[in-house]
């Protein structure tokens, strides 16, 4: 599957963000190329996998899509603990969801893995007419916090693959080229499995 001389990287990725911002829709677009106007709310969390091949490496994502409502907060740590990447999603038509995204960023900075690749995503970019969060605001906040930023639409597929490609690239860059069979667990009991595991 991997191209010659390539490394295989397995990375745990978590999606966080307010309810209804489009986390599940982004993943479904990326993994299955589907979109539903009425996507069922996520209860607890959902799990997906997807493989991306770059020139320099093949990245296999283990994706945890969490439930967005504040009340489910207590379940989130087990999904972001040990994650190699986090996608924090807000809805460009909701200022509240942007505020919530900032809270997630702060929490990850406090509690998350310090090398985590963090991405801020302003989703529903197709809803320009009802936009509440201007692009620059998201961009600025991401920059200040050393995150990668993108506006996307799960509905039109705009920038969806790009988000995951960019994450894959950063992971490939960050993950040390190690000899075959090398695995890096970070050893946390819950959810801390397989931060990266590389085989040559």
């Amino acid at each position: 599957m991997a191209r010659t001389g390539n490394r295989n990287i397995q990375a745990k990725l978590v999606l966080l963000g307010d309810m209804g911002t489009g986390k599940t829709s982004l993943v479904l677009r990326f993994v299955k190329g589907q979109f539903f106007d009425y996507q069922e709310s996520t209860i607890g969390a959902a799990f997906f996998t997807q493989i991306l091949s770059l020139n320099e490496a093949t990245v296999k994502f283990d994706i945890w899509d969490t439930a967005g409502q504040e009340r489910y907060h207590s379940l989130a740590p087990m999904y972001y603990r040990g994650a190699a990447a986090a996608v924090i999603v807000y809805d460009i038509t909701s200022m509240d969801s942007f505020g919530r995204a900032k809270k997630w960023v702060e929490e990850l900075q406090r509690q998350g893995n310090p090398n985590m690749v963090m991405v801020l995503v302003g989703n529903k970019a197709d809803l320009e007419a009802t936009r509440k969060v201007v692009t620059e605001e998201g961009e600025q906040y991401a920059k200040e916090n050393g995150m990668f930023f993108m506006e996307s639409s799960a509905k039109t597929a705009q920038n969806v693959n790009e988000i995951f490609y960019e994450i894959a690239k950063r992971l490939a860059k960050a993950s040390p080229s190690r000899p075959t069979g090398m695995k890096l667990h970070n050893g946390t009991q819950e959810g801390g499995r397989r931060l990266f595991c590389c085989s040559g």
């Binding site: 309810m19 209804g20 539903f36 009425y38 996507q39 069922e40 709310s41 996520t42 209860i43 607890g44 969390a45 959902a46 799990f47 996998t49 283990d62 439930a67 967005g68 409502q69 009340r71 489910y72 207590s74 379940l75 087990m78 038509t93 909701s94 009802t130 009991q189 819950e190 959810g191 801390g192 499995r193 397989r194």
Partner: protein, 399 residues
């Protein structure tokens, strides 16, 4: 943003008619195999069903008048029949009888209208955002601002006012949605109250309170039960770092009404309302047991996938439920509860203050507004009729 009240909305267009299954869910492309076999055995099945309904009717009496008497006289017969499945056309009525919600309704005339019409709740926006995302493939809930979505909104909003500590939590919509397919709004509301406040069994509200204390407790208990009953699989889970929260939290939060085949969910609910949450543990264990030999070979990713997509044959209620009942858990469950409580003395106090059974007094104490309006105004009576016009019929059964 969206406006607040659903009743300001004109209903959206009625979605085009598409083939639905016998419960009203829009069919997936591939034909459900169990559906085919149902057809071939149709005639036989129908006769059996009719006999069953007659027995049930006798047991219930007119509008439920004989029910309590029958339960007292022949509890084992009732239990056996419920485990075999309540006839679909009597489900709504029987659910209200066994959950204790009927009594609540009768004790609290007018309260529901009050909650729906006059009170406002901080959760309204959250509820609206989720309305079209609850059973989106069911015809009753598909039409935007149609009768299904309106009743769903009303029930959830009423509950969020009635218990402001719980408010609205994602997942409750699936409970309410399931109930609304079998009863009126007001009946569904009181059944929700009966469950969350614990009219008959331990209150469920801890599943939805801040910190989800009861979810945490159930997951702890479930994990230990797996170790006890399926030690090899328990060990495999540990090795693969599978935590029950990764697959079982929605089993508890929605009592299998989310992402499980509907015909199975209904059968589980029949038992759940009569026997309590123990059946959720038992069905969970039975699913694992049924797939044990496959699960035990799978690595992490495949395991997670398998735990969220059980094969069709595992979800046949006539196989799964007998298996579930055969797994004895009650004693260990209680011990584990004590053990968990000891470990977490503080955080779960409210969730399991198990004496919090509902009484008339408690109900009216919650919302002072009720005390003023003892005689329901004519206007509100009319509005209530409007709100629940589609489902009165379920009161007296549908067959």
């Amino acid at each position: 943003m969206e406006r607040k009240r659903t009743d300001e909305f004109e209903p959206g267009p009625v979605p085009p008619a598409r083939p639905v299954d016998r419960f009203g869910f829009v069919k997936q492309e591939e034909n459900n195999p169990s559906q085919g076999s149902i057809k071939s055995r149709f005639v036989n099945e129908q006769e059996r069903e009719e006999r069953r309904i007659r027995k049930w009717r006798k047991m219930i009496g007119v509008g439920g008048s004989d029910w309590k008497h029958y339960v007292r006289r022949k509890p084992h017969v009732v239990l056996r029949r419920i485990r075999k499945g309540i006839p679909d056309c009597l489900r709504g009525l029987v659910w209200q009888l066994i959950s204790g919600s009927r009594d609540l309704l009768l004790m609290n005339p007018g309260v529901y209208e009050q909650l729906v019409i006059y009170e406002t709740s901080a959760s309204e926006l959250d509820i609206i955002r989720d309305i079209s995302r609850t059973f989106p493939s069911h015809v009753f809930f598909q039409q935007r601002h149609g009768p299904g979505q309106r009743s769903l909104y009303n029930v959830l909003k009423a509950y969020s006012v009635y218990d402001r500590d719980v408010g609205y939590v994602q997942g409750m919509g699936f409970l309410a949605g399931l109930l609304l397919l079998y009863m009126s709004e007001e009946d569904a509301f009181w059944l929700l109250v009966a469950l969350l406040k614990g009219a008959v069994h331990a209150p469920m509200e801890g599943l939805y309170l801040v910190g989800l204390p009861l979810v945490q407790q159930y997951l702890f208990q479930f994990e230990q039960l797996v170790r006890e009953h399926l030690p090899k699989l328990g060990e495999h889970f540990t090795q693969e770092m599978i935590n029950p929260s990764m697959y079982a939290s929605q089993w508890f939060i929605t009592v299998f009404s989310y992402s499980f085949p509907f015909h199975l969910a209904l059968r589980i609910w029949d038992v759940f309302l009569y026997e309590g949450v123990i059946i959720v543990f038992q069905v969970g264990l039975a699913l694992l047991k049924y797939c044990h030999d496959d699960l035990i070979k799978l690595p992490f990713e495949k395991l997670i996938h398998a735990l969220r997509n059980f094969p069709e044959d595992a979800m046949n209620p006539d196989v799964l439920l007998p298996m579930a009942h055969s797994i004895k858990v009650s004693k260990l469950l209680e011990e584990l509860k004590q053990e968990y409580k000891k470990k977490n003395e503080k955080p779960i106090q409210r969730a399991e203050s198990s004496a919090s059974k509902v009484t008339q007094k408690q109900l009216s104490a919650r919302s002072p507004a009720f005390e003023e309006s003892t005689q329901p105004a004519e206007r509100s009576w009319k509005q209530t009729r409007l709100l629940s016009r589609n489902s009165r019929k379920s009161r007296s059964g549908r067959c």
